[in-house]
Subunit: 175 residues, 2 copies
């Protein structure tokens, strides 16, 4: 598919990193420079508000791409921090490298078009769920939809993804 010069080019723009459990790949408030691909391990993107409350916007496990897409696209300070839930190996792509890649190898436009189309579809569904379903139902669906994530995260983190307190999620589970 690709020439060997292209392969070299790709190798030059992607960088591989490993992060130990609980370290931050990206800090809320600092420029959101990178798009990440999880090779192995898992990540969590979360925002902390003035009162110190965490809101988890997404998790990423094997083969998922993750970033603060708004701030990445506009090159603004990130609204979220990215945390390794376990020792995690990622491939990182700088914003400049991302733009350069698309300019140089237009094949990747298709790749990312499909990636973002799916991501958009997923978020549209999440929006629908969050305005139309009860917490109980959203929790139930989360367990079914993302069993790989459930294995790796705490209940508190699931609560912050669903937008409820850990205490309340605990009481919902009892039923």
């Amino acid at each position: 598919m690709l020439h060997s010069s292209d392969r070299k080019y790709l190798a030059s723009i992607f960088s591989v990193h490993t992060f130990a459990k609980k370290t931050l790949l990206q800090h809320q408030g600092q420029l959101c420079k990178k798009l990440f691909f999880v090779e192995e391990g898992s990540l969590r993107a979360f925002s902390v508000n003035e009162e110190g409350k965490e809101a988890t916007i997404m998790f990423a496990v094997d083969d998922w791409w993750i970033t603060d897409m708004y701030c990445f696209s506009k090159q603004l300070p990130a609204m979220v921090s990215l945390e390794a839930l376990e020792d995690t190996k990622v491939v990182a792509l700088n914003f400049e490298a991302f733009e350069n890649l698309l300019a140089r190898l237009p094949k990747f436009e298709r790749f990312f078009r499909i990636l973002f189309q799916n991501a958009y579809a997923r978020e549209q569904l999440r929006a629908l769920d969050s305005i139309s379903l009860s917490t109980e139902e959203r929790y139930r669906r989360f367990l079914i939809k993302y069993p790989q994530i459930v294995e790796k995260v705490t209940q508190k983190q699931i609560a912050s993804y669903l937008g409820v307190t850990p205490e309340f999620l605990s009481s919902v589970k009892k039923k």
Copy 2:
């Protein structure tokens, strides 16, 4: 940019329609065949659940693209209905035509990559807002962010977008 044969091709795959106020462009439960572009007017995408409650997943005004992206991508029955909020002129693109367009004119991969990247970014922000902000704050931000939409929709529709009852939104406004 495009050859005249390409222009003819484009003209052949896009279809222009006008819909009178309050008519449905797409019915919940029927195959989601089309991607719409609003030339003039405005649309609302909403889902009705078993208890008859409406959840609005998005509005679209001039120059916005809209569809039920999950069901469009997978060619499944739509989870939402699409309603014209006023007399509205749209350009419609069939799923097959969409796929065909991308295969034939790869330039459009870039166009839609950017479109979906932005749409994804917008939905990620919405998810963050919905789990971290109060109804009052989300209402305030909606008014600031989408003044063009506010002009055209009822309070009840905004309530169904925010995921609260119209009665409650009314009481929030009083303050």
